[in-house]
C-alpha cells in the first residue's frame, strides 16, 4: 500500500502483477511477469524516482510457473 492510493500485489497463480485502487479495488495496472509473483513487492526512491520491484519465482506446491526473476518498474516520464 502506498501514499499514492495504490495496492500492489502479486500472489496470484497466474503470471501477473497488479496495482489496485486502494479506495475502489479497481485494477488500474497489470503486467505480465516471467513467473508467478509469490512474494511481497517493495517500493523505494532513488535519484528522485520511485521504483516498484517484485520477485517472480512461482511456488512448486501451487504448481505455478517457476522462475528466478526480479523485475523493477518506474514511470516512463516523471512530472517535476
Amino acid at each position: 500500500v502506498t501514499a499514492g492510493g495504490l495496492v500492489f500485489i502479486g500472489y496470484t497463480l497466474d503470471d501477473t502483477f497488479r496495482a489496485f485502487d486502494l479506495a475502489t479495488g479497481e485494477v488500474l495496472w497489470e503486467v505480465d511477469i516471467p513467473a508467478a509473483g509469490t512474494a511481497v513487492p517493495v517500493t523505494y526512491e532513488v535519484n528522485a524516482e520511485q521504483y516498484v520491484v517484485i520477485t517472480a519465482g512461482g511456488h512448486s506446491m501451487y504448481e505455478s510457473t517457476m522462475g528466478d526473476a526480479v523485475v523493477a518498474y518506474k514511470l516512463k516520464r516523471i512530472e517535476r
Binding site: V1, T2, A3, G4, G5, L6, V7, F8, I9, G10, Y11, A19, D21, L28, W29, V31, P34, A35, T38, A39, V40, P41, V42, T43, Y44, E45, V46, N47, A48, E49, Q50, Y51, V52, V53, T55, A56, G57, G58, H59, S60, M61, M66, G67, D68, A69, V70, V71, A72, Y73, K74, L75, K76, R77, I78, E79
Partner: protein
Amino acid sequence: VRLFRIARDCGCLLIGLISLASVSAIEPAAAGQAAADTTEHQLGTQYSPLRQINRKNVGELERVWEFHTGDLPPANFKGLMSFEDEPTLVAGNLIICSVKRRLTALDPATGKVRWTFDSNDPGTRYQKCRSISSWSDATAPPNSQCRTRLFLGTSDYRLIAIDATTGKPCADFGKDGVVAMPTSKPVLFPEEVAAGSNPAVINDVVVVGSAVADNQRVDAPSGRVLAFDARTGASRWEFDPEDRS
C-alpha cells in the same frame, strides 16, 4: 515524522490485505516526503509514504530492469521451492536472496550486480528465502567494515553476518561471520532445525526463530527462539514457548 506515524496507522489497518513495504536508499527527500527505512518495514508496517506513482499515473509504469538469480528448479523437480524474496534496500544496495540463499546486491536504479555472497545453504528440504535483515552499529566509525551488516539464517541453522556495502563476512561476528546455532539435542540430519525466516533485530540483539521438521520423530528438538549480540554473535538468551516440565 508526523506523516510517517499516520502512514503506520494506515498500514496496521491493512495488514493481511496488502503487500507493499517501503524502503529508501537515500536521505528523506527535502520535499517533505517521509522515507521509511528497512527497520520500519521489517516491523511490518507494509506501507510506503511514496506517492510519485499514484492512481493517476500508475498506468504509465514500465519495466526498467530485470535480474535473474540463476537458481531455477531442475527439470522434473519434485521438491519444494518458492522464490518469495522481499528485496531489501540497505546501504544503497538492493539485496536479493535466492532460493539457495545466495545474496546478490544490485544497483537499485539499474539492476546491475555489485556483489554476490553464497551462504552454501544445503537447501534440500524446502528451497526458499523470504528476506534478510539488517542492522547498523551506531557506535562504529562511519564507513568502517560491517558498520551496517546483513543477517541471514540458513536451513542448516547457521546465522551469518556480512557487510552490507561489500558483501564480505563480518570477522568480529561469531567465527568469521558465522554462528553455528546450537540445537536443543543432536539433529537427525543437518536441516532438521532450520532458520528459514529473516531474523528480527531489536536494539542490538538479533532474534532468530526456527522451523523444526515435522513428522520425523516424537521427541523432536525444541523450536526455541535464540538471541545473539548483533556485534559479536555471542549468545544473549533463549526462549522455548513450550512448557517442557
